[in-house]
């Protein structure tokens, strides 16, 4: 397919960006959850 490398690289990079965001969210939620647990005790 014409444009070869970039045709694959662009969607992959977009996805990596989304992933990074997801991982960040996941960690923030974990932090809040542990804090909530501590508050509960």
């Amino acid at each position: 397919m014409s444009g070869g490398f970039w045709v694959v690289a662009v969607p992959v990079l977009v996805w990596v960006g989304v992933l990074a965001y997801l991982i960040m969210l996941d960690r923030k939620v974990s932090v809040l959850e542990t804090r909530a647990e501590v508050d509960d005790r």
């Binding site: 992959v12 996805w15 909530a36």
Partner: protein
């Protein structure tokens, strides 16, 4: 769910879509029998999105039934978890049905010359999107937490009737542009390469992404409920 399970899900969710992109855009040969053989690759994104939208709806319906039963039997708080599950699934269903509509209309433009042609199958996915959206709008219109759960779970169950009709019955009773495509995917008419990318990378990858997103959203809602109630 054990930690290992989540590590596996998240890893797969990270990796498989990358493999899908590579598979769809570099690995598979351009499709024969299509007007735009290269454009047909988008089908490898379109089909998983559609299936995940349906999966999301099934998950939502199951959570809705659970929530209604728990409320009806007077369980103290058990319904809240189920209600959160239903809401999260509906949100994700909206996301994936929107993606399905967009990828579908891109393909439609390439293959049949128009982004939208009011084909019954196209209209179905649009209406399903409206069902998801209507559920979320209903939730927003109710202030009391339990009433919100009651009404939205009720609506989610009601929506099974049009949902089932649009997904299962309609394509079988009305001729649609989509018909040939259904046969190709489900009837085994797909080339081996496409099958590998679709069933090996695309579908499992998106399922893992969905599971992760669903769980994350539910955790976030739980914190919201704890904070605001």
């Amino acid at each position: 769910m054990p930690r290992l399970f989540w590590i596996a899900i998240k890893t797969l969710a990270a990796v498989l879509p990358i493999l899908t992109a590579w598979g769809a855009l570099a690995y598979v040969k351009p499709a024969e029998g299509f007007l735009f053989p290269d454009g047909a690759r988008i089908v490898l994104f379109h089909v998983p999105c559609a299936w995940i939208a349906c999966l999301a709806y099934v998950v939502a319906a199951v959570y809705a039934i659970t929530a209604l039963r728990r409320m009806h039997s007077g369980a103290a708080e058990g319904w809240m978890h189920a209600d959160r599950g239903c809401a999260a699934a509906m949100e994700l269903g909206l996301l994936f049905s929107a993606l399905t509509t967009v990828t579908g209309s891109i393909f439609s433009r390439l293959q049949w010359g128009a982004f939208w042609s009011w084909d019954p199958r196209q209209t179905s996915i649009l209406v399903i999107m409206f069902l998801f959206a209507a559920y979320l709008v209903l939730r927003g219109a109710v202030a009391d937490r339990q009433t919100k759960a009651r009404l939205s779970s009720g609506y989610a169950i009601l929506a099974v009737v049009p949902g089932l009709f649009l997904i299962w019955v309609l394509p079988r009773i009305v001729p649609t542009l989509h018909g040939g495509a259904n046969q190709a995917v489900i009837g085994g008419g797909l080339d081996a390469q496409y099958r590998l990318v679709l069933y090996g990378f695309g579908l499992p990858g998106l399922v893992c992404v969905y599971v992760w997103l669903q769980h994350l959203r539910m955790r976030l809602m739980k914190l919201e409920d704890a904070y605001f109630l």
